[in-house]
């Protein structure tokens, strides 16, 4: 909730000045030159003038503004609701929003006109909703909001009064991520992934002879009658896995035009990370988040549930790109244990992230790298020929580094939304746990 800094006052408008001037001069001319026709001409304005004078508002209203949804997903609409105290003879309210980055008022500038009605008067306040649309993830501001009131005939105007900008947190939009493949090596206690070991679960494994401790409801009567010995059905255990989502926010390349336009590498990175986290959390897996950034580094321990999902999205929403000196020193992943699936989302501009991914893979961890430098991201436009040449060389080096890491068994997947990880996760699951290499 935000209040106005200045309550303003009811001021005479040009319209009222016009009525006074035209009526006064017209009246004087009509009297001096004895022209009743001129008096008739100014009569409407005289009536308007008297009406306006009698209905001049005596008090200034109190104004407040708030957002119906302080946290929204990018592309979604919310409403800035301006609440103005009811004042006698204040009959029209106008609201508009100042231009703010990544927040668009609808219609243009969030311009809204509201006519004060009986309902407003009975409840003692007018509520003027203005639609706002969040165009890009991040922490933004709506407004400042300008509010003005008009008396009858537009003779007196209150405001425009400025109400402080309203903070809004915009969560990244999750793309239609659609992994059907199982997580590679689940090690948790509960979940929806089929484990490699037998245990309590829903997926059939085999029919085997009865052992002490088996549940009676698992007895397979048909087989038991045929063989004359008790047999039970066994199943694979259902387990969860720990998915460590790692976001490389050291660099941001390309131009971001919001949810409806072109996306930068950081846009792709954040949206991909949000999608991956959402998908695995919905599966009941534990998801942790690590953001590598010189400005907004973050670490969220593994967790599950909707609240954890919200926490991850809010952390991603405040991510700011900033390079870090000696990046490799800051890339330790202390929460990565056996059975963890590491999903590294990066534009892979710096070799440090790839080096770290290769090290993890060599230690037996399942690592998937999502390449956020996808088609459509425009490289920086350099007028300088040398800089352009340096960029091309760096891209060639990057291609070589990607080939090398893939040769080491780390899959690199360009982020393409739905189904990006399906094939990779299937291959990792088939491959089985990697042998830990010492040193």
């Amino acid at each position: 909730m935000s209040r106005s800094r200045d309550t303003g006052r009811w001021a005479v408008t040009f319209a009222h000045q016009r009525a006074v001037t035209v009526t006064g001069l017209g009246g004087i001319a009509a009297v001096v030159w004895q022209r009743p026709g001129l008096l008739v001409l100014v009569t409407p304005l005289l009536v308007v003038l008297v009406w306006s004078g009698l209905t001049r508002p005596r008090r200034v209203p109190e104004v407040r503004a708030r957002l119906t949804r302080p946290v929204v997903t990018e592309g979604d609409r919310g409403y800035a609701v301006v609440r103005t105290g009811a004042v006698e003879h204040c009959e029209v309210l106008g609201v508009s929003l100042a231009d703010a980055p990544w927040v668009a008022g609808e219609p243009l500038h969030g311009a809204t006109v509201h006519v004060v009605d009986e309902r407003d008067r009975s409840r003692g306040a007018s509520l003027v909703p203005t639609a706002v649309r969040a165009l890009r993830w991040g922490s933004h501001r709506v407004g400042p909001v300008a509010v003005a009131g008009l008396s009858p005939w537009g003779a007196f105007r209150w405001g425009p009064v400025t109400v402080d900008a309203l903070p809004v947190r915009v969560l990244p939009r999750t793309q239609g991520f659609d992994v059907r493949a199982p997580a590679p090596h689940p090690r948790g206690l509960v979940g929806r992934h089929r484990a490699s070991r037998p245990g309590e679960g829903s997926e059939f494994r085999s029919i085997r002879p009865f052992q002490w401790g088996d549940r009676l409801r698992r007895i397979h009567w048909a087989r038991s009658l045929r063989t004359g010995e008790l047999h039970v059905t066994s199943s694979y255990a259902d387990e969860d896995t720990h998915v460590a989502v790692v976001v490389d926010a050291y660099h941001d390349l390309g131009v971001s035009e919001g949810v409806d336009g072109a996306a930068s590498t950081l846009d792709h990175t954040v949206r991909a990370a949000a999608s991956v986290a959402e998908h695995f959390l919905h599966q009941g897996d534990r998801v942790s988040l690590r953001v590598w950034s010189g400005r907004t580094p973050a670490r969220i321990p593994p967790g599950t549930g909707r609240r954890h999902h919200r926490r991850i999205l809010e952390t991603l929403a405040v991510t700011r790109p900033a390079p870090q000196e000696h990046e490799e020193r800051h890339l330790a992943l202390d929460t990565v244990g056996a059975g963890t699936l590491v999903v590294l989302v990066s534009a892979l501009i710096s070799p440090a992230a790839l080096t770290r991914a290769a090290t993890l893979a060599r230690h037996g961890t399942s690592v998937v790298v999502i390449d956020a430098f996808v088609e459509g991201v425009e490289p920086p436009e350099e007028d300088d020929e040398v800089a352009g040449l340096a960029w091309r060389i760096r891209m060639l080096e990057r291609d070589r580094e990607l080939r090398r890491i893939q040769q080491e068994g780390v899959p690199v997947v360009p982020w393409q939304g739905a189904g990006s990880l399906d094939e990779v996760l299937r291959r990792l699951a088939r491959r089985g746990p990697r042998v830990r290499v010492e040193g």
Binding site: M1, R9, F14, A15, A19, V20, V22, G24, L25, G26, G27, I28, V31, Q34, R35, P36, G37, L38, V40, L41, T43, P44, L45, V47, L49, W51, G53, P57, R58, R59, V60, P61, E62, R66, T68, R77, Y79, V81, R83, G85, A86, E91, V92, G94, S96, P107, L108, H109, A111, T112, V113, V115, D117, G124, A125, L127, P129, A148, W153, G154
Partner: protein, 199 residues
């Protein structure tokens, strides 16, 4: 100037209609002026130009200039003290004044709600009725040939002066703060979006 045209380009359809009514009223007035008496083509061109200026600039003194010019053009172009076409001419002035006042008072990009028409329709009719009465009385006085004289002129001027002074005193009375004498019902703010039916 660029900002004014940007404002005009981004104007809502209702705002555009409201502003265009100023030009229409000015054109109707020029037709009435020609029909009621003598007028030069230059006067009509100036009338049209001022009308366009008001469309672009309703929140300045341009409409004042237009209305004063209309009065002068009528006084200079129509020789008789009273003419039957004075009534529609007066209504043109009313339309221009109200259209400019509303166009200047609200954001140009905002669409105007239908309730605004419901609010101003009866008001305009009431003012038109009052104007018709004055028009009829003025016509009767002009037809009777009642002499004016210095006493009538001084009385008229006195009435105008008293009116202006009364208006000045009324308008310059200070407004009170909204916090005092507040009779607003205290309602939980969280109820508001539900009341408005917003998501």
């Amino acid at each position: 100037m660029e900002r004014l045209f940007t404002d005009l380009r981004g104007a809502s359809r209702q705002q555009a209609l409201l502003r265009s009514s100023v030009v229409v009223a000015a054109l109707v007035y020029s037709v009435l002026l020609v029909a009621a008496g003598d007028s030069t083509p230059l006067a009509l061109v100036v009338l049209g130009a001022l009308g366009l200026l008001c469309v672009v600039n309703p929140h300045t003194q341009a409409p004042t200039l237009l209305l004063l010019y209309m009065l002068v053009a009528w006084g200079a172009g129509v020789p008789s003290p009273w003419h039957p076409l004075t009534l529609p001419a007066a209504l043109c002035l009313l339309v221009i004044h109200v259209a400019c006042a509303l166009a200047a008072g609200v954001p140009s990009a905002a669409s105007l709600p239908g309730t605004l028409r419901l609010l101003y329709g009866p008001r305009l009719i009431a003012v038109a009725v009052a104007t018709t009465l004055v028009w009829a009385v003025a016509g009767a006085v002009a037809a009777s040939g009642t002499p004016g004289g210095i006493v009538a002129a001084l009385t008229g001027l006195g009435v105008v002066t008293v009116g202006l002074v009364t208006h000045y005193v009324t308008v310059t009375r200070p407004a009170r703060s909204g916090q005092r004498r507040r009779r607003e019902r205290v309602v939980d703010q969280r109820e508001r979006p539900k009341e408005l039916g917003l998501p």
